[in-house]
Symmetry: C2
């Protein structure tokens, strides 16, 4: 639909005359130009002899020739894989080409992601898929030896290590042109978080100039056409909550390759409520990343980290950037600092630099570099905590019993966070006063909810009455569980 | 989309404010009424504060409350099955309920049919699926002991046994209220074929009266709400050319159960180019039909027949009904007669009647009953061959070499047939002068193409130059192949 599938809407009578049906495909032709679109039919919306076009087809307005097109071969290839056969390189290339030009209908896209998920991919298929995805978009050429990058497999709220790692690497004179995504269902993506303090939407040329000047950037990847087919695949994976391993590897590494990166650290958090459920899956994913990285001539290192509870204390754009500023000040949440340091040091070693991330956090050099990048992205000069504005409508969530925090559910925290209005309302979100393992008294504050709009806070409070995401147990129960 | 998915289109700004995204779902509420719809977003088509509704939601026009709805549980169930787990009865019931109320997006429907296809179903799952599909629609109650019915698994052009079998059974005083489908991609469905000589679109009450009067009917099933969810599932299977065994069994038997039938013969043609590729698949399907039939208290018999070439000689509505009239006259194509007789006799035995179908064809009683039904369905009195009008634009396709017809491709024949304008143009289609095993001289006529419109004939001729569907071999080659 509007998203960007190419759909022509024709009157049922014309469809009957053409011998075509909803979800079939037609050729559109005019003056030697040609494209293919999926058909939908209507009784009334479009009159006989006329044709309705969705957004991506608007340049076809006017008089055009419409004829029946055959089903793209990719649909047969998807069926072939359902039947347990392996794809060859040409078939994968054709599927990616068809997805990229919106030639597959939503039903076929649902079939594609389901098939990849249920049938898996061989190493060679993954390699071909990654290459095809790179070919489908632009590739950035840098004139440098080493281009560093990082990626985190999502699903863990507050896991905002990027704004800490980038200035550490850039401070060492290594180019790290980081593009990040916005939130899909979570309360904030790295792009949303950075947007709380500076611009994030730049053209490829502008990004190049920023990186030229400051060695790093923290921008939104959406306006750059790197591996564009990835967004179309994610659109089909998202409603089904599918992250097929082979597709994840191809998606991440095709974006990195297209961005021109050759030194990449990938964080794989695992655990209950994280995208990767257990350590075996995490290890298997790490091996695939390394192997496909090698094939794509990208030096890849993976870290496997615990992801069963949120990282840091703030959830939501302003609350997260506050945690980052605190860590860049040599303070802040210990888990966020530790994780950022670990990832930054691995990347420094990969780039043949001294792994002294902690020193750069403690001596203020990383903070200075961060402020420089923010200013270069049209943000405040010397941005610091007092510049941040939190939502003014707040609610404290208190412990209903005495005990030990046994678990904080990622999914519930993400859902509550989203309902506060984040990431659209930058100052909305959650602050977690207590983390796993903390002892609490009855009535002690577990978290504070921030909202910019009162009606949003009210709705969150209703939800919190059902489930706050915190699970508290007796110390005795904890011990029994530990045996 | 228009088909009948329930979609609301909202402005991107409103979507951001609601915290919802394309393909998410929202609740629609007004005065205690409630429904769920899938979201699509737009920059321009719909203004802020307004909402666009697809056809199935038109009764919601006016002022309504919109709020975020959670993902239907069915989506999690589909994922569960992708992960190799079995569905319980309640999960299947919920999936069918959600499909029936259009709560699943096309991506999710694509995932559903792909999952069923790749993961299969246990006997219990098939039984539950069949029951749930029956429950989703109306069920006809007849006041009779025996209600007969027949079904053919599709894919074989010209396989028009229904207009021959129904009058044979009805002539014996057994009620056989046959509802048929229209063509989806083939040149004619039984409903299209009957439409060449009488009305086929009747309400349930009208159907009951016709069957009361004549013991049989030959109507279109589309206007009767029997197992309505089946059409929604077929809509997702069709673009992928998927016919998952469990779904086929549930679809066919749920329609039969809803129609109140308890004596059903099912024809399973197999072979190259038929829906069922080989005899093992055909046998497995037959066993499932019998077992699920027993569970649903339907007496089922299956015939496994060769389906690697078209049946009869005519392809297209008028050409097919001409074959049927010829068989009902004690003449006509031998294969069509033989197959009809076999199926009719099985059904007669199941209904404790003498299996004398040939006698009824030869003594004209079946023809008389057929003419009675046609007249009752507002067709001509005593319909016979001279009443039929064929397309006036014709083209003979001739053998390019001497030899023996080794094969006639179902798919090519169906495709050529569709391009003649059939089933919309009733007199369009193909007549096959030669069938498999026939000896031909170079230049001898293989088939005649009929069209009502000259431009359609021209297009067919272009296609025929590439492939006529006929494969001719030397007699020697035939013998070598035979060794």
């Amino acid at each position: 639909m509007e998203a960007d599938t190419s759909i022509v809407i024709i009157n049922e009578k014309d469809a009957e005359e053409l011998g075509t049906h909803a979800l079939d495909r037609v050729n559109l032709d005019r003056d030697g130009e040609h494209t293919i679109a999926v058909v939908d039919t209507t009784k009334k919306m479009v009159q006989e002899g006329e044709i309705g076009l969705t957004k991506s087809l608007h340049k076809w307005k006017g008089s055009i020739q419409v004829s029946i097109a055959s089903k793209p071969d990719s649909v047969d290839y998807i069926k072939k894989k359902m039947d347990g056969k392996e794809w060859n390189s040409e078939e994968i290339r054709k599927i990616i080409e068809d997805i990229n030009k919106n030639a597959l209908s939503d039903i076929e896209m649902g079939a594609y992601v389901t098939t990849i998920y249920t049938k898996g991919m061989s190493f060679r298929e993954m390699a071909d898929l990654t290459e095809s995805m790179v070919e489908a978009g632009e590739v950035i050429k840098w004139g440098y030896d080493k281009i560093a990058d990082k990626h985190s497999i999502g699903g863990v709220p507050g896991n905002r290590v990027t704004p800490i790692i980038i200035p550490i690497i850039a401070e060492k004179g290594i180019k790290i042109p980081k593009t990040s995504s916005r939130a899909i269902t979570s309360p904030s993506g790295t792009a949303d978080t950075m947007e709380a303090i500076c611009d994030i939407d730049f053209s490829l040329d502008e990004i190049k100039k920023i990186v030229e000047d400051t060695d790093g950037c923290l921008v939104w990847g959406g306006s750059v056409k790197l591996s564009p087919v990835d967004d179309k695949i994610i659109r089909a994976e998202h409603p089904l909550s599918l992250d097929p391993e082979g597709q994840v590897v191809a998606s991440v590494l095709s974006k990195k390759k297209a961005a021109g990166s050759n030194k990449v650290v990938i964080d794989i958090p695992y655990g209950e409520g994280a995208k990767v459920g257990n350590i075996d899956e995490a290890r298997s994913l790490a091996i695939d990343f390394k192997k496909i990285g090698e094939h794509m001539e990208i030096d890849v290192e993976c870290t496997i980290t615990r992801g069963e509870q949120p990282i840091g204390r703030g959830i939501g754009p302003v609350l997260e950037i506050r945690d980052c500023l605190r860590v860049l000040n040599g303070e802040g949440p210990a888990d966020l600092r530790k994780k950022s340091v670990r990832l930054a040091n691995i990347l420094l070693e990969m780039c043949d630099r001294e792994p002294n991330a902690e020193e750069l956090l403690d001596n203020g050099k990383a903070l200075k570099k961060f402020q420089e990048i923010v200013e270069r992205q049209n943000g405040l000069k010397n941005v610091s905590e007092p510049d941040l504005e939190l939502g003014t409508h707040t609610k404290e969530v208190k412990a209903e019993r005495k005990g030990v925090i046994n678990h904080i559910e990622n999914k519930t925290i993400a859902e509550i966070g989203s309902r506060t209005g984040a990431p659209k309302d930058k100052g909305a979100g959650l602050y977690l006063h207590k983390k796993k393992g903390d002892r609490v008294e009855k009535g002690e504050v577990l978290m504070t909810v921030y909202a910019e709009k009162e009606e949003k806070l009210e709705k969150v409070v209703q939800q919190l009455e059902k489930n706050s995401g915190y699970r508290i147990m007796d110390e005795n129960e904890m011990i029994i569980e530990g045996i």
